[in-house]
């Protein structure tokens, strides 16, 4: 098992996750530097305790330096690794500000139409309402509105490893009308475990 899916909340995980052969579910309170040293992938959700993660910054950066991959859902508000900046919301977004554009063909979204993720029963905003600003060298994957606010990006760190930032509700919880959860969970795990990504 080479991917840690971090459990930070009380709700039970989708059955796809703990039964995936590559996944080890770890309660955030039990996450140690040793855990990060033993895996090559990490998936965290919007309930991530960023204060606790900040304490593990050296281990997290060492994990990435070794080529590790971190799939991050939510808003960066603590400097858990060097190079990230605090979430920037879209001020008073209108519907048009939440329309999505695919900016790069990331494998996680292969075959998934924008319309399947853009709204939740016709209501926009669940996907994301701003961005974690692009680190230098990051590639925007999904843009919001006319300004193409980079709600999703992937970053091949100069020091090694990759970070995928989805600055909204947990990606694997979206697209429920089309039951996209299991597909997205599998793809997120594959990516975190070193699967296909954009060309470096």
């Amino acid at each position: 098992m080479d991917v840690i899916w971090l459990n930070c909340g009380a709700e039970p995980l989708s059955p796809v996750i703990p039964t995936h052969p590559r996944v080890r579910v770890v309660d955030q309170f039990r996450l140690t530097a040793g855990d990060l040293g033993a895996v090559s992938g990490l998936v965290s959700g919007t309930l991530l305790d960023q204060d606790a993660m900040l304490v593990l910054r050296p281990a997290l950066e060492a994990f990435l330096d070794r080529g590790g991959r971190w799939f991050f859902n939510g808003h960066f508000l603590r400097p858990m690794i060097a190079g990230i900046k605090p979430f920037r919301p879209i001020r008073q977004p209108r519907r048009a500000d939440l329309s999505q554009t695919r900016l790069a063909p990331h494998p996680i979204f292969a075959g998934i139409e924008i319309a399947q993720l853009e709204t939740n029963k016709g209501v926009a905003g669940f996907y994301g309402r701003g961005c974690n600003p692009l680190p230098e060298g990051a590639i925007p994957v999904t843009g919001l509105g006319e300004a193409l606010v980079p709600v999703d990006w992937v970053w091949a760190r100069p020091g090694g490893g990759r970070v995928f930032s989805h600055a909204g509700n947990d990606l694997d919880q979206l697209g429920r009308e089309w039951n996209l959860g299991p597909l997205l969970q599998g793809r997120i795990i594959d990516w975190a475990g070193g699967g296909p990504c954009l060309c470096a």
Partner: protein, 200 residues
């Protein structure tokens, strides 16, 4: 009275509790695990919405001691407060995020006592976004918000313990901190300063 908030380090707790809009409302921000060490009998403990219940349940004894000594606890929604506070009976309900799409829709939230200091300046639209469930308060409690069927959404309990419990199923801290649902910001704009004045 000091207003002490717990933060679970989630992005929405950080944004709401530490952001410039409301930071001055709180005297101190602590982790749930520090409740037993940092809370003084005269303090008011503020547990924001979407605090994972598994972090609050181990603090139940410390919270019970605080109430036994006459302390005050504010428990916001979606934190499983019925699992770590005495005397709570909560009935969850599926959340209808789309009720407002119907023409003329009215969620039916009612301010029971407009003259209560905690409700000062609040209008119906400021307490209306969606519902996660209702409470069955012990006899003698004061209900401030009800749903269309008269079920309690926010009430004050000064009968179950020597202390005072304010509990609600509303979750404004999460949504304001997520930059989602402007009504939640309007609610906190009034409720938090009202709370400070009410606590004295």
């Amino acid at each position: 009275m000091r207003l002490i908030a717990t933060s679970c380090g989630t992005y929405y707790h950080i944004e709401t509790l530490e952001g410039p809009r409301y930071a001055a409302c709180f005297d101190e921000i602590i982790r749930p695990e520090e409740i037993g060490l940092r809370l003084e009998p005269g303090d008011c403990l503020f547990v924001p919405c979407r605090s994972p219940a598994q972090r609050m349940i181990p603090q139940a004894p410390a919270i019970a001691r605080h109430l036994a000594l006459g302390g005050t606890v504010i428990a916001m929604g979606e934190s499983g407060s019925e699992t770590w506070l005495p005397g709570l009976r909560f009935t969850p309900r599926p959340t209808n995020w789309w009720w407002w799409l119907e023409a003329g829709a009215d969620l039916g939230v009612q301010i029971e006592n407009r003259h209560h200091p905690l409700m000062a300046g609040l209008e119906k639209q400021d307490v209306t976004w969606h519902l996660h469930g209702h409470f069955d308060p012990p006899e003698g409690c004061e209900v401030l918000l009800r749903d269309r069927d008269g079920l309690a959404l926010l009430y004050i309990d000064e009968v179950s313990t020597p202390g005072r419990i304010l509990v609600t199923s509303l979750d404004p801290v999460y949504h304001h901190g997520s930059h989602f649902m402007p009504a939640t910001t309007r609610f906190l704009d009034r409720f938090l300063p009202n709370l400070r004045r009410w606590l004295g």
